[in-house]
């Protein structure tokens, strides 16, 4: 008797908090959890006359078919290689900027530079595609008409030559994210005890020596942790960067196709639901496993930085 009363009281106490959380939970349930259950679509041959639930099970056929195409290899290779380039070059550029910024004499400067450098990261991929188009389009682009032509070099039709895009996309990504990425490192450098530098100065260490022997070694743990965390996301790509920026040009697919663009194209343009769902599940599963592995490693390096 007493136990039930206590239970009821407990429930009454919990109710208001549960009510507060309810709308958000309901949203996550719908937006995130129902689609997780929906991964079974990858094992079906979807036929809309039968409905999604009534469609035939085909086992792993979608996956077998997917991995028999060259698409699977191309999109996996592109996704991983672009991410590796972004992680390595992005980290180097961000640290370079952060170190320079921390050497500026007045704070006003660094504020100004920071505003300027985060701007590229705040614009949409659509606007970014406009900026790129202004430089690269073959009829009126800045590079063809104002650089190559005056130099007497042959003009290039950028949107149909796949071989240039690995460089173009890496440059764009660095332009967009390096400044933003430097904020973290800048904040970290600002937090380093100044007396260490003073001591080094007394010992006769110049600026460059201080950077290489004090700043960078102290940054190392942060670099490793952030690097590892990005490796956990190596199977994901920014859909806009690989779809909108190359203007969805078919001639460029060999170097611009990533898993995310493939999933979209298979679903919306080719209407091949099975293929698209299989590729999506492939991405989610490998991504999930990668995060688990990376987290285990991060936990070993520094438990405070582990995600869980």
């Amino acid at each position: 008797m007493n136990a039930t009363i206590a239970k009821r009281r407990e429930l009454k106490k919990m109710m208001p908090l549960l009510l507060l959380a309810a709308p958000g939970l309901l949203y996550l349930l719908i937006n995130n959890y129902i689609p997780m259950l929906g991964v079974f679509i990858g094992f079906k041959e979807v036929d809309f006359t039968k409905g999604i639930f009534g469609s035939d099970w085909v086992g792993l056929n979608n996956f077998k078919f997917l991995f028999n195409t060259s698409d699977a290899f191309i999109m996996t290779r592109n996704t991983i290689l672009y991410n590796l380039a972004f992680i390595i070059l992005g980290t180097i550029c961000s640290i370079f900027i952060a170190v320079l910024m921390s050497e500026l004499l007045t704070k006003v400067y660094s504020k100004f530079f920071q505003s300027g450098l985060v701007l590229p990261n705040l614009i949409s991929m659509v606007v970014l595609s406009y900026l790129v188009f202004a430089f690269l389009n073959s009829d009126s682009g800045f590079i063809n008409l104002s650089i190559l032509r005056p130099l007497g070099l042959p003009e290039i039709s950028w949107y149909s030559e796949a071989k240039y895009w690995p460089y173009i996309l890496v440059i764009i990504q660095l332009w967009k994210t390096a400044g933003y990425g430097s904020i973290v490192y800048f904040a970290f450098i600002a937090g380093i005890d100044k007396s260490i530098y003073e001591a080094a100065k007394i010992d006769g260490a110049g600026k460059l020596k201080q950077i290489f022997n004090i700043t960078l070694p102290l940054l190392k743990p942060t670099i490793i942790i952030l690097g590892l965390l990005s490796v956990g996301r190596i199977f994901n790509s920014d859909f806009g960067l690989f779809y909108q920026v190359p203007m969805n040009a078919g001639a460029l697919y060999s170097t611009t196709q990533t898993i995310d663009t493939y999933v979209y194209r298979a679903l919306i343009q080719l209407n091949d639901i099975g293929m698209s769902a299989a590729a999506g599940l492939y991405q989610s599963l490998v991504g999930f496993i990668l995060v688990l592995i990376v987290n285990a490693i991060v936990r070993k390096v520094n438990a405070d930085n582990a995600l869980f």
Binding site: L18, L19, F113, S115, L117, S146, L208, V263, A277
Partner: protein, 297 residues
Amino acid sequence: MIQTRGERTFAHFSAIVMTLITLAAFLPFILIFVASFTDESALISNGYSYFPEKWSLDAYVYMYTTASTFVRAYGVSFFVTIVGTAVSTILTAMLAYPMARRDFKLHNVLAFIVFFTMLFSGGVVPTYMMWTKIFHIKDSLWALIVPSYLISGFNVLLVRNYYKNNVPVDLIESAQIDGASELKTFYRIMLPLSIPVLVTIGLFTALTYWNDWINALYYITKPQYYGVQNLLIQLMNNIQYLKSDQASSMIGVGAVELPSTAVRMAMAVIGILPILVVLPFLQKYLTKGVVIGAVKG
């Protein structure tokens, strides 16, 4: 701190290199800004240039005379951004607060539910099927607001940590001894106390909604629901769009060269404008958010 000559040289070197890098960040923007004020014929013959042969206000005049399309897209973007951000911020705070209460039995269960959404996703296909076949969300303003962006697990955890670290437990207890209900404690005490972190996530969310074009790519087929970003895509995909009958009848003479390139650039400029306006204000909070986010996910 006494500066040696070497140090001063290094500081100057840093300032120069940083100026160059910042310039590189700005130059592409300046190019489309200049292009939007360039005469169409100059654009066609010389291409995009920082120093156009002939300046012109045609693009902006044209946009002004055919304002309805642009105004509508702007309206859609503002509506989606404001409503999306407001709802998202409130729901995030409401979900985060119970998670921060250690005396709430389910707080760890909630935390796991939220956290797991950051680790695994069902992917595009099931999500798309659900929104279109079960909720029939296609071609509505809801399609721009609800899918994907309303609650981010990351933001919820950010706000929860803020409540955990910055709001003393005594405060909650004393409010409740004074007879305040849970809901009242939340609205009267917790919400106002968490304004700094809510502004931070609110800004990130607003930016997400303003810049989003992917929801419309999946769920919108009727141009009347296009916001600024998707109108830009449409203009880019269809250069001829501006030369449609409606457009040429507005100008009057069909033979007049429509400033199509410049108009697109002007539209892009106008699309960035709201971000530029709030940038100085944004920066402080963005910096804060990035640092918190990177150090502890």
